[in-house]
Amino acid sequence: MPARHGRKTSAGDGLATALGLFSIGLGLAQIFAPRGLTTLIGLRTDRGIMPMLGLREIATGIGILSRPQPTGWVAARVAGDVMDLALLAAASGQRHAHSERLAGAAAAVICVTALDVICAVQLRRGSAAATAGSSLRATRSITVNRPPDELYRFWRDFENLPRAMRHIASVRMIDDRRSHWVARAPGGYRVEWDSEIVDDRPGQYIAWQSLPGGDVPNSGSVRFDRAPGGRGTEIRVELEYRPPGGTLGAVFARLLGKAPERQTMEDLRRFKQLVETGEIATTDGQTSGRKGGPFGRRLSLARILEKEMR
């Protein structure tokens, strides 16, 4: 039973949500009450364009709210603001225009544009920090139908872990506290580091930290808590990676930065499969009616999702 804690949200995320909701509200008003709205902003004619603008607003609103990274949609809002300002400028030349209200409307749009720009900048900064900047964190937990002692022992022998963890090529114990790790990265790269246990409470908790000189400074911990109702153990993992600059750092950031929490969840799931069933569920290598070659598998939802995962 996997569980996840809230994704870390930045100021940009909160603002984006507010702007997304605002977009949808405004869009609905434009579609269902175009007359009221045109009057409000000082136009007397030309209501036909309002519902179309409403559709645009709703589309960007939904885009912002439904995507994990709404940066592009917020940028679309900025473009929409510019378009609205142009339309208002054109309308001010109309005979029946109510110039004070039009000016008010333009001022409102300018304020919203400012918010949109701030939001877009914050989001861009946030995503840059997550991929190339200071650190990548992941916290995940899962319930495993085995007692804490047994899981602790299995985990404590780090050489067991590559069987469950897709991106770890090998782990070698140097002595009881230190181990050497090799991880696979895209493009055939390998990254390596030595790790040292910094806290060790048998049956309960292990914490580790990489030693200086490794390719990727990292630290992490795992807790084993008895699950209620005889359901085994709740495992909680916390990982933090600090990818260095340069090519290797960029490659590693790509490896984990896309979805460090999802990777961690998948690793935990495989760990659970391994200790509960003795094997890891797979369909790799099974038969199918797909022909080989790049066009054997058409672009499908499953395909896109699988790609997203790797």
Binding site: T277, Q286, S288, E306
Partner: protein, 389 residues
């Protein structure tokens, strides 16, 4: 080997594919002797289940002979005759330990996809989309069966395939649908649909002590089968209003339990049916929950609505007010087949029931696409197609 492969909506091809291999120590390879087309396969055929891929091998109701076992499979040997349950279950997780096999936590390699749709993932299922594991199915000459030490049940040589094949899905599914109704002596049970699962739900409700079972459909041959083979009273919803008829037949109480054995592609005459068709076609709604709505509205106060019918997504206009104000219980789920195979095999061998009564068509594997078409369009009085290999 030959296998029935999905290529697109309404496009299936039986083609030559590589033979399956053992991939994990608890796998077995089964040489299939009989395999069936399930009503739920039609949801794949009609393109309503996301994450299907071109070339996927269909089929989750199959049986045959063990021809190879992984080194951890100790309870089966080459030559054993087995029926394979459709959910793939590890036998060691919390859910398997508690006999909720279709909720196994360890058999879906694509669990994260299902988590996006459902919050948590159910068990992997043979031939039933990548979201539910992407496992190659059993409408083929051979199949790889994961966790073969837990799922498949051995059947004696003397019993014909047709009598035990449906232990793989539809007999346990109908049985669990009835069991979920918590039937007490004197209870009246209504069953929406007269397809194969419904036929077993009717038969099971009687075996579990129901006094009367009322079945609802519009296809004369299916209504006839429900009356003559399963013993139900019937309502043709194209001729009479379902709610009014049920109230008339139950003295205004409504059925004590209602079973929706229809699922996501229900049909309905008139405006209600059009409404859901349009919404489903424009992807504003993933299922057409017409039978479910009717079942909820008709169910007796304090009664149970049991849902073996397959639903996949986010549905519209479910009468939650009726569920709450009438204090209804809703029970549903993919069938925990492994829980029921042994006791139902005993019933078959005792002569309580011969599940073969639902079979109307026997075809060759090569004719699978034709079988799907026949089954979907309910031509030639088709209720159940079995493919022989």
């Amino acid at each position: 080997m030959k296998a029935n492969c999905w290529h697109a909506k309404h496009k299936l091809r039986v083609e030559e594919v590589p033979d399956p291999q053992i991939l994990n120590p608890r796998d077995a390879i089964v040489k299939i002797t009989s395999t069936a087309i399930c009503g739920s396969d039609l949801h794949l055929y009609n393109g309503f289940v996301p994450t299907m891929e071109r070339g996927d091998i269909l089929g989750h109701e199959f049986m045959g002979e063990v021809v190879e076992t992984g080194h951890e499979v100790k309870n089966l040997k080459v030559g054993d005759r087995v029926v394979v349950p459709f959910p793939i279950s590890c036998g060691h997780c919390y859910f398997c330990n508690n006999e909720m096999f279709s909720l196994c936590e360890n058999s879906n390699p694509n669990a994260w996809m299902a988590e996006k749709m459902f919050g948590h993932s159910p068990a992997g299922i043979f031939g039933y989309s990548h979201m539910l594991g992407g496992y190659a199915g059993g409408q083929a000459e051979y199949a790889r069966v994961p966790f073969a030490d837990v799922g498949p049940i051995k059947v004696p040589d003397g019993v014909p395939d047709e009598r035990v094949l449906f232990l793989s899905d539809i007999f346990p599914t109908g049985w669990m649908a009835a069991e979920n109704c918590d039937i007490k002596p004197g209870h009246v049970v209504a069953v929406w649909g007269c397809g194969p699962v419904a036929q077993f739900a009717i038969a099971s409700a009687y075996m579990q002590g129901a006094e009367r079972v009322i079945a609802i459909d519009r296809i004369p041959a299916r209504l006839r089968m429900a009356r003559e083979k399963a013993g139900a009273e019937t309502i043709n919803y194209e001729e009479t209003d379902v709610y009014d008829s049920l109230m008339e037949m139950t003295g205004g109480r409504g059925p004590d339990a209602c079973i929706d054995a229809v699922g996501m592609e229900a049909h309905a005459p008139g405006i209600a049916g059009m409404y859901d068709r349009v919404k489903q076609a424009t992807m504003l709604e993933s299922d057409r929950p017409i039978a479910l709505r009717e079942a909820i509205m008709a169910c007796r106060k304090g009664g149970t609505v049991s849902v073996p019918g397959v639903y996949g997504g986010f549905d519209d206009k479910i009468p939650l007010g009726a569920i709450m104000n009438k204090a209804l219980t809703i029970k549903t789920g993919q069938t925990h087949v492994q829980r029921y195979m042994r006791p139902l095999l005993d019933r078959i061998q005792n002569g309580d029931i011969d599940p073969g009564f639902v079979i109307t068509h026997r075809m060759r594997l090569e004719d699978a696409p034709e079988g799907y078409d026949l089954f979907m369009n309910k031509q030639d009085d088709c209720v159940k197609v079995v493919l022989k290999i």
